[in-house]
């Protein structure tokens, strides 16, 4: 089996699973500053799937590709700690405000710069938007087949890959020729933990922007001169030869007209204990109202 070249698409997202009461501003908009950022959970599943293939097919190379602001370099480091071979950031203020169409265009320009590749993997969806659109849109732009909602790779043989998909009401096993794109479902195995040796090796991995920062220690800078693998590539609009009309806000057809925060409507709540009398009273009321019985 010839080694594969895999690109994992990963995103740094605000942790919407743990939205505290201070996460919303009084005007109903999201207070992003109050939300911690995390490696998008489904993308971690995608990384595990890639590393699992690397375990099976010797010599396979896993590259992690992310688009985001400077701090998204954390995603690349996290990928290194868990087993990725290469990491690349697409980062440029001009990419900001992108919806899924502009995002997929941008990622595809990056993927094309990494070509040739055999497999593109990404999480099914990101928890900050839950759209699940970027994967299929990248597949279209790359003109390759897509297999969405993958939970297990059954077999890799020669020129094709066989995977099981998780659908709403069941499962489906499909085969696809290479190259193809897969989106990975949260029901697939969770990602392996950080590897202590890899953490040691990559903890000083930095992008050039980070290296230039005043807060970066001189020791780290000199380390980068000796160990070039520590420098995380950072691609701008020019580096990926992106069309300005197709990126950021101008490349995004969907716009947010308004947002409204969901206020919990205060109901007249009856508070009961677990005493027999309380529960019998409630049951009687429900029967009287014909809710039950």
């Amino acid at each position: 089996m010839k080694p594969l070249k895999i690109v994992v698409l990963a995103k740094q997202v605000p942790d919407t699973r743990h939205v505290g009461s201070d996460a919303m501003k009084p005007d109903g908009t999201v207070n992003r500053g109050k939300l911690a950022t995390v490696f998008n959970p489904d993308d971690l599943h995608a990384l595990e799937l890639a590393l699992n293939i690397k375990d099976r097919v010797k010599g396979t190379e896993v590259t992690i590709l992310t688009m985001g602001p400077k701090r998204a370099a954390d995603i690349i480091r996290e990928g290194y700690y868990r087993g990725a071979d290469k990491g690349i950031m697409i980062s440029d203020k001009r990419f900001g405000g992108a919806d899924t169409l502009a995002t997929s265009y941008t990622l595809v320009k990056g993927i094309q710069k990494l070509a040739p590749f055999d497999l593109i993997l990404g999480g099914r969806q990101a928890i900050d938007g839950d759209t699940a659109q970027v994967g299929p849109q990248c597949a279209d732009k790359l003109k390759i087949p897509q297999i969405t909602y993958v939970e297990e790779i059954i077999e890799i043989k020669g020129d094709k890959i066989i995977a099981r998909r998780r659908l709403e009401k069941g499962v489906e096993t499909v085969s696809s020729p290479f190259p193809c794109l897969m989106t990975v479902h949260g029901s697939s195995p969770t990602c392996r933990s950080r590897h202590a040796k890899r953490v040691m090796k990559y903890k000083y991995a930095r992008t050039n922007t980070e290296l230039k920062s005043k807060t970066t220690d001189e020791v780290i800078r000199s380390l980068h001169e000796k160990r070039p693998y520590l420098t995380i590539s950072e691609w701008s609009v020019e580096d990926i030869e992106a069309d300005m009309e197709k990126i950021g806000l101008s490349g995004s057809p969907t716009k947010v007209k308004s947002v409204e925060s969901i206020v919990l409507t205060a109901k007249e709540t009856k508070i009961l204990s677990d005493a027999d009398a309380d529960i019998e009273m409630m049951i009687k009321e429900l029967i009287e109202q014909h809710t039950i019985g």
């Binding site: 938007g129 839950d130 299929p136």
Partner: protein, 339 residues
């Protein structure tokens, strides 16, 4: 042509529930716009399919009937849909936010280079003034969806890239027959003219679809458990109560993740959206993702030993206590008092 277009899903000669909901919602939008409603359906043995679709007030229906089109695969369906949409040039296109719709719609949006809003729960028509252009755009699609884990509702619009597309969550739009005898024009799609051999490179090797008896959406009473239920065994108490009341058992995502209950019984933003007349939440704290899927229940009972559980704020009855004691008592007093 200015129209509203619906992509219909089909399995075993039956139009999917979600597609019937979309046709109903699409007709409402088409009436507001004063334009036709169109639909497309791709599958096999579709001779009788028109009769299922016409009553929703569909003016024109595109049928692609070919054994290779069912079960659904992305590439042939995307090729057919984009070909039809390019020719018909509708204003609005709707898909179900199902495993099919969410696989297909983004691929099509990429080909057509247009906007797509995922998982909408409200659709409407309205205007928008674009300050930069000093121009008022009339009759745009308002694609309204929960965002940020369900903590906000966002109204997404798209005025400059045609058409405006949306996927719509299952079980949110109400099904409504428009006219049993509606006259629908049918166009049979010539599949071989559009779909190429390479569109069939992905092969389906095996398929297990559970025609599960679970129909949470239709259940009048739902007894749902959360992580607080503690174990699969404890869920049996909830099952007993549901059986007695003629309801179904459901679970929060945490309960599903913990393996207490099957995935197909998950309620919430990533599971099923329900609006039963009675919702009993046992050991569910009520994260927004969960509330988004059940807050429209007519009556909510929360059984929880945490008085601060967010679900208590939307509950009609809050029972402070251990559900191992409360649920058997509910069973006991129901048996005693029910006629």
């Amino acid at each position: 042509m200015k129209s509203v277009f619906v992509y219909c899903e089909v399995e075993n000669k039956k139009v999917a529930e979600i597609s019937q909901e979309l046709l109903s919602a699409g007709k409402r939008l088409a009436e507001k716009l004063g334009c036709p409603l169109e639909a497309m359906i791709f599958g096999k043995d579709l001779n009788e399919i028109k009769g299922q679709i016409a009553p929703y007030g569909v003016d024109k229906l595109f049928i692609a009937d070919d054994g290779r089109l069912e079960p659904y695969r992305t590439l042939p369906h995307a090729a057919l849909a984009t070909d039809i949409l390019k020719k018909e040039d509708p204003q609005i296109v709707l898909f179900g936010a199902t495993s099919i719709g969410r696989d297909l719609a983004p691929r099509i949006a990429s080909v057509l280079n247009c906007g797509l809003t995922a998982d909408c729960t409200i659709l409407d028509i309205g205007d928008h003034f674009v300050k930069k252009e000093k121009k008022e755009y009339k009759d745009l699609l308002y694609a309204i969806r929960p965002a940020f884990g369900g903590s906000i509702m966002a109204n997404i619009i798209n005025w400059d890239m045609h058409p405006q597309m949306a996927t719509v969550r299952e079980g949110v739009m109400k099904k409504k027959v428009f006219d049993e005898n509606y006259k629908t024009e049918v166009e049979q799609v010539k599949v071989d003219d559009i779909v190429k051999d390479e569109d069939f490179v992905v092969k389906i090797i095996e398929r297990h679809i559970e025609e599960s008896g679970v129909n949470l959406k239709e259940a009048p009473i739902i007894v749902a458990g959360g992580y607080g239920v503690g174990s699969k065994e404890n869920f049996q108490h909830l099952q007993d109560l549901a059986d007695l009341l003629g309801g179904e058992v459901g679970g929060s995502r945490a309960a599903v993740d913990a393996g207490f209950i099957d995935h197909d019984r998950q309620i919430g933003q990533t599971g099923t959206t329900v609006r039963p007349k009675l919702y009993i939440a046992a050991g569910i704290s009520g994260a927004i993702q969960h509330r988004a899927g059940m807050q429209e229940a007519s009556l909510i009972i929360s059984i929880n030993n945490d008085p601060e559980a967010p679900i208590n704020k939307i509950a009609d009855y809050v029972i402070h206590g251990d559900l191992g004691e409360v649920v058997p008592k509910m069973i006991k007093y129901y048996k005693k008092n029910a006629k």
